[in-house]
Point group: C2
Chain length 248, copies 2
């Protein structure tokens, strides 16, 4: 048996998120179904980040224990040949038997893409959230600066999740203009349920001049979801990368 | 009655091209159906470039004569509110009554996007043609240079079209690398049936080293479709812009 790690990109538009659900198609269903085809048996796949319905990935990471049947340098090719076109394996490698895609992740990078053109870009309608009001990127950057570092991010967590602690460390939050898009890049130790979308929704309100940038600090300290802004739609989110200390 | 010119962008993935066809959904069907909703009567729409199945547009131009019911500055908004999300009106203006979107066009700009990454970019699978073999862009540029100017482009025309002359002028053909993409931009007086796709397919063979760049000159002079390369798939084509002398 070998422990395989694969890096997966997917267009989440047609899926009810990553994780298995009753009566709804998920990325996990499709991955496990196709891995089963290769190995002629059901193989459980562990994932780094359980993405929501409509959320995309460029660098999702999964791992699974499988018999040593397919040379690792052929694994991406073998899977891509049978996977649907909206899921692509970008990389495959053998990792130590103790490696676990979620538990061993030390950081994750998520992006959020806002289409800030006057009219929506038709080719990015599934990958960007269209906001026609021109956003003040400098005000958004100032607002974002209050979130850097270790904080209790409870105010930016959606209801319905149970976690031991709502403390997380945000290593960086870059906001970049790429006309007509504005791209937010979050690198953090971990993210609470819908945290990327709630932070983005709140920063959009700052960008529109509906909130002062300093309110972000007050919201954070208030630790109350009601203090923060609207949850931005899932289609703007992409899991860009999962970081590991070592893959030896 | 006013003559309205509108600039339209669309994702051609779900359409059988621009022009009306029996038993197949086209962009023209959808535009005319929605313009009919606005004016409560059928209005014939003239188009600049009849794009093929799967071909996209950022700057398609159409015009139509309609009663002076909707202020022109509200027309884009009114149409975008009822159009499906894969067709977006970018601009609307009133033009002289003699203006005709196709007859008055002096040039058109088409792009062709090649995804030259080792593995396909999942988010561009409908907008780019994936070629995993690394292409020699310099060789492609040399090949392209033989096509500039006025020529008989018969060798690069697909069968099944009847035109008075196969002479066309190619003002420019730029080839640009935007990792992992290679983008070809064609500006010409007009284009023969599938000309952009046949030129691209032939230049890809040059980029793969299967043909010498100088063969492009020989193919052009041979005036025989069999001399040119394969037709690249339609999904890589986008009508970027239609040029007019004046819109007064």
């Amino acid at each position: 048996m070998q422990n395989y790690m694969i890096v997966v990109s997917y267009d989440g538009t047609s899926y009810h998120g990553y994780q298995f659900q009753k009566n709804a198609l998920t990325v996990q269903d499709v991955l496990e179904k196709n891995i089963k085809k290769l190995y002629s048996k059901m193989i459980r796949v562990e994932v780094a980040g359980r993405t929501d319905t409509g959320v995309h990935a460029r660098g999702q990471v999964v791992n699974f224990l499988a018999p040593d049947l397919i040379p690792v340098e052929r694994l991406s090719f073998a899977l891509n040949r049978i996977l649907p076109r909206d899921i692509v394996v970008m990389e495959a490698r053998i990792v130590s038997n103790t490696f676990h895609a979620r538990r061993d992740a030390t950081a994750k990078v998520y992006s959020y893409t806002i289409d800030n053109g006057q009219l929506p870009d038709v080719f990015n309608r599934h990958y960007a959230y269209h906001v026609s009001n021109p956003l003040d990127v400098e005000a958004m950057k100032t607002g974002a600066s209050f979130l850097l570092g270790e904080h209790d991010f409870k105010a930016f967590q959606a209801a319905g999740s149970t976690v031991q602690t709502t403390n997380r460390t945000l290593f960086s939050l870059k906001i970049e203009k790429q006309e007509p898009f504005i791209i937010l890049s979050f690198e953090g130790s971990g993210f609470l349920y819908k945290m990327v979308r709630i932070i983005t929704g709140t920063l959009i309100e700052v960008g529109r001049g509906k909130r002062r940038p300093e309110e972000i600090k007050e919201i954070l300290e208030g630790k109350d979801r009601k203090g923060a802004g609207k949850t931005a739609p899932s289609k703007g989110v992409c899991l860009e990368k999962v970081v590991y200390r070592s893959l030896a």
